[in-house]
Symmetry: C2
Amino acid sequence: MYIETMVQFKKQLGQLDKWLVTASEYAKSRNFDPAVFLTLRLAPDQFPLTRQVQIACDTVKLAVAYLTGKPAQPQEDTETTIEQLQARIGSIISLLDGLTAADFEGAAKRVVSQPRWKGEWMTGEDYFIQHAVPNFYFHLTTAYAILRHNGVVIGKRDYLGAQTKRPPAA
Amino acid sequence: MYIETMVQFKKQLGQLDKWLVTASEYAKSRNFDPAVFLTLRLAPDQFPLTRQVQIACDTVKLAVAYLTGKPAQPQEDTETTIEQLQARIGSIISLLDGLTAADFEGAAKRVVSQPRWKGEWMTGEDYFIQHAVPNFYFHLTTAYAILRHNGVVIGKRDYLGAQTKRPPAA
């Protein structure tokens, strides 16, 4: 289910890109700088939109690295415009476009660890289900919530995007 | 990965229960009725906390029904207190406690449909990855965001909960 979930992440990142376009158009219609959205947050000690988008992107990038063994390309967190955030999202979509099911062979049993875990580790499967998936959706939904809370007209269908429905049986 | 994800959903519902306890204690410390939280929302045309919790619960309940073939038990949406919302969450945790991997045999290939889809359908796998998982985390994170936005002191660790770390190699 790894590659299928990565395809889903790609779709969700495409939806995130669309929300940013809608936010940008909304800002222009109300005569304020679209970049204002990047600084907004839901609580004073919660990350602003820019960081939510960066972490959503990094969560996918690191999951790909941990689960395929292909090293993650470092990226600087320097985005200050909606267009730059869109480019960051686009870089992750491109990364996902280059993957196939074969890249995730053995992913469930990989050893995942981080320096701050002091030698402790998680299996690839535990890491994926307990960290990567909930973390990705957390930052994606928080980005959505920041925009929604600040007047951008997006709804649940914009969150989920198109679903693979099959035609009725003949 | 169905049963493993259901175990993860169970953990997340347990975390949601804890956030509600923290919210209730916060309300009492500030001398307001904890039930006020149930009516709060991030945007005037977005669902309030009560509905976010109900939909998070229903998403899991329906996913279990669609993927195992066991019919979902109807529940009325009548909660007006935090304790009642906790009971609703508890009912889903109990449901998940009664499931094993065997219940999800063949889940990926099940036919999932709803009356309003007019005969269209999704495979169990597509439904799970494209609807159940993103929808559950959406409403869970929105519930978190409503509480966080309104002063409840919860953080990212409270969202993710404990993760299955393994001890360092000897």
